[in-house]
Symmetry: C2
Subunit: 338 residues, 2 copies
DNA sequence: CATCATGTTGACAGCGCTGTCATTCGTCAA
DNA sequence: TTGACGAATGACAGCGCTGTCAACATGATG
C-alpha cells in the first residue's frame, strides 16, 4: 500500500524526459528553463508528488533553510506574541523556524548559537544585545542576516527591531507623575537586561522629579507571574506604606498587584495607582482596567522575519535600527482625581 | 580571522590517526570502539571543536533528527504550557523540535504533516484525534513514533497522552450542582473538537440533573480571550438572566466573565458561580479566586517527548493510552453558601 | 597447531542535490 | 556564408556522513 520509496529529482527528470539538473533549475530558477520544458517538469512534479529533500540541498549548497530563533522563554506571554509574529511571517516562506530557549542565560545562549552555527542557518533572530563576547563574535561571523529583537541599541550586529525600554519606562513614570502621584514605587521580577533598563528609566524620571526612593523598589530574581505580583505588592506595602503608585515591570505583576490591592482594601486608583508594561489583552478588560505601556510584540516578530527574507532576497533598504516605539495606554488604574 | 572551513569527520580522523568511519562509530556507538582509540578521538573532537553535520547524517541514514510538533495555536496559553514541557524534555536530547501551526484547521494540519513526512522525522507530536483521513493515514505510514496529545481516545495512531475532556467537564458541572447552583450556563469560544467534547460533558451532566437549558449556552467560533469572556457573559445575562452559574470552556473566558460580572454588579459566587478550565496560574490569585479544572499541560508535552525518546531507544513499556486526568480545584468563585 | 568465534578497524559506495564546467543549437552581424 | 555569441541543457563530481561487508588481530578451543 504505502510506497516507502522516496521520489527524487531523477524520477521527475525521467518522467519529464530531461536531466535531473534541469529539474533542479526549473524548481529554483524557473527563468533559466524554457517554458515548454518547465511545463513538462511542473506536471511531472505534480503527478509524482515530488517534495525536495532539504537535507540533500543543505549538503550540496552548504546552507540550510533554517532560521534560528533564540528567545529567553517560551512561556512568557511577551515572547509568545513575538513568536506568533515570527510564525505568521515565516509560514509561507521556504524557511523553517527553529527555536532555542536561552532561559535568560547568556551562556546557554552561546551554546545554542554554536549549535545553530554548525547548521549554517539562513538567518538568525536573537533577543536583545546582551550576548557573551564569544556569542556576539559568532553572530558576526555567521554570514547570514541577523536580527536582534525586543530592544533597540546603538550597534546591532546587523539589524535590530524593538523599542527603547528606558524611554518607555520614562514615559510610564511621567504618566504617573502627571496623574498627581508623588511617591511612586517599582515592582520588578526576573531583572533581566531589559527589565533593568526599564528600572533605569523609572529611576531617572523619578529622580528628575525628586520623588525617587530606594525603599519603594521591590525586585526579585524569580520569574514574574501574577502570583509574584501579589506577593511583591504585599512586601512593598509592608516596607513602604506611603507608596501611592507603582510601575510594574510587566503586566503579570500589575494584575497580581491589582488583585492583592483589592484584598488589602487599597482602592485603585485613588489610594494606589498601577501601571504595567506590555499591554497584554487582559489589561483592558480588568476591573478596574489597567494602565500599561503598549509594545508591538507581534510586529517585532513579524518584521524580524520579513527583514531576514528581504535580506536573503537581495535587498533590505530599511535602517539598521528599527524602533517600533511604545505608547502609554492610560486606563482606570491610574485615573486619579487630581 | 574566522576560519570558514567546516571541520569534518575526516579532519578528526586524521588528527586521531584513524579512519573516518571509526570516528563516526566512536561518536554514535562508543562501545564498538576500543577505549584507547575512543580517547584519542574524543580529544581530537575537543581540540578541533568538531560538530557533526546533521544534514549529512540525515542524507546518509534517511532519517532526520527532527521531532515534528503540530499544534493548533502558538499563542494560546494552554499550548504554551505544553510547549514548555516539550522543550524541557527535548532540550538535552539530540533531536530538534520543529513546530507547525495548524490554526485549528485539519487541512492545514494535513499539509504540514505532508511536509514533515518528506523529512522523515524521528518522531511526531500531534494534537488530538481529529485529523483528516489522509492525515491519519500519513501518520500511520510515517514509520516513526507518533504521540497524540491533549486528549485521550480509543484508538490512537500509536500512543496518546491527555485527558478526557468529556469527563473533566462532567466533573466541573457536578461541582457546580453540588454547590447548589441550579441554572447552570455554558460559555464556549472557538468550539474546536475538544471544546465540543467539554460542552458535551457539561450537557450530559446538566441533563442528567434536569437543569440543562439551551438558552443558557453562549458559543462563538472566534478565539477565546479575556475580552471575549466579558462579551459573552453580557450576552448570556441578556438572553438568560436567570442563570446562576457558568462553566467556561477555558480560563480566559472565566476571567473575562469575572471582570464583567463585577461591572454588572453581580456578586461572585453568590449571584453567579464561575468555573473555568485548565487552571492557569491567574485563577488562584484572582479576586475572588476562580474555580477551575486543573489539567496537566506541562506533563503532556514532557511525556509526549519522553515517550518518543523511549520508543526510539527501543522500548516504551507504557500503555498506548496515557490518561493524565483532571482535578476540579474549588475556589471562592463557586463557594456559595448552600 | 589448525580452526573458529569475537572484537576492532577500514574500504567503498551512495544518500539526493547542486556548483561548475562543457556542450549543443539557433540567431544575428559582418 | 561564416564566426561569434547567448540561451538552454547536460555530465560530472562531490557535499559529509553512514550501511555494508571485508579484513585483520586476538585468544579460546579441540
Amino acid at each position: 500500500m504505502s510506497e516507502k520509496k522516496r521520489i527524487t529529482l531523477d524520477d521527475v527528470a525521467r518522467l519529464a524526459g530531461v536531466s535531473a539538473i534541469t529539474v533542479s533549475r526549473a524548481l529554483r530558477r524557473p527563468e533559466m528553463v524554457s517554458e515548454a520544458v518547465r511545463k513538462r517538469i511542473d506536471s511531472a512534479v505534480a503527478e509524482l508528488g515530488y517534495v525536495p529533500n532539504p537535507a540533500a540541498r543543505h549538503l550540496a549548497t552548504g546552507r540550510s533553510n533554517v532560521i534560528g530563533v533564540l528567545i529567553p522563554s517560551v512561556t512568557n506571554n511577551v515572547f509568545s506574541e513575538v513568536l506568533k509574529g515570527i510564525y505568521a511571517a515565516s509560514e509561507t516562506s521556504p524557511y523553517d523556524v527553529q527555536l532555542a530557549n536561552t532561559r535568560y542565560c547568556a551562556n546557554t545562549e552561546e551554546s545554542a548559537l554554536r549549535l545553530f552555527a554548525s547548521q549554517k542557518p539562513a538567518g538568525m533572530v536573537v533577543s536583545g544585545f546582551d550576548q557573551t563576547e564569544a556569542g556576539r563574535k559568532l553572530l558576526e561571523t555567521l554570514d547570514c542576516p541577523v536580527v536582534q529583537i525586543m530592544e533597540t541599541g546603538e550597534d546591532p550586529v546587523d539589524v535590530c527591531v524593538g523599542l527603547s525600554h528606558f524611554h518607555a519606562a520614562e514615559a510610564a513614570t511621567r504618566h504617573l507623575l502627571a496623574q498627581g502621584y508623588r511617591r511612586p514605587g517599582f515592582l520588578g521580577a526576573r531583572m533581566d537586561p531589559r527589565t533593568r533598563r526599564r528600572f533605569a528609566g523609572f529611576r531617572a524620571e523619578a529622580q528628575a522629579a525628586g520623588v525617587f526612593a530606594e525603599a519603594r523598589v521591590v525586585t526579585s530574581t524569580e520569574a514574574s507571574s501574577v502570583t509574584k505580583g501579589a506577593e511583591m505588592l504585599r512586601q512593598l506595602m509592608a516596607q513602604a506604606p506611603e507608596v501611592d503608585a507603582i510601575f510594574c515591570n510587566n503586566d503579570d505583576l500589575a494584575l497580581g498587584a491589582l488583585f492583592e490591592a483589592q484584598r488589602l482594601g487599597l482602592s485603585v486608583p485613588e489610594r494606589l495607582g498601577i501601571c504595567g508594561f506590555n499591554d497584554l489583552e487582559v489589561m483592558a478588560v480588568a476591573n478596574p482596567s489597567l494602565t500599561s505601556v503598549r509594545t508591538r510584540r507581534f510586529e517585532m516578530g513579524r518584521s524580524a522575519i520579513e527583514i531576514i527574507l528581504a535580506r536573503l532576497d537581495g535587498g533590505w533598504q530599511g535602517p539598521r535600527v528599527v524602533d517600533l516605539g511604545h505608547e502609554v495606554i492610560a486606563r482606570q488604574s491610574t485615573a486619579r482625581q487630581r
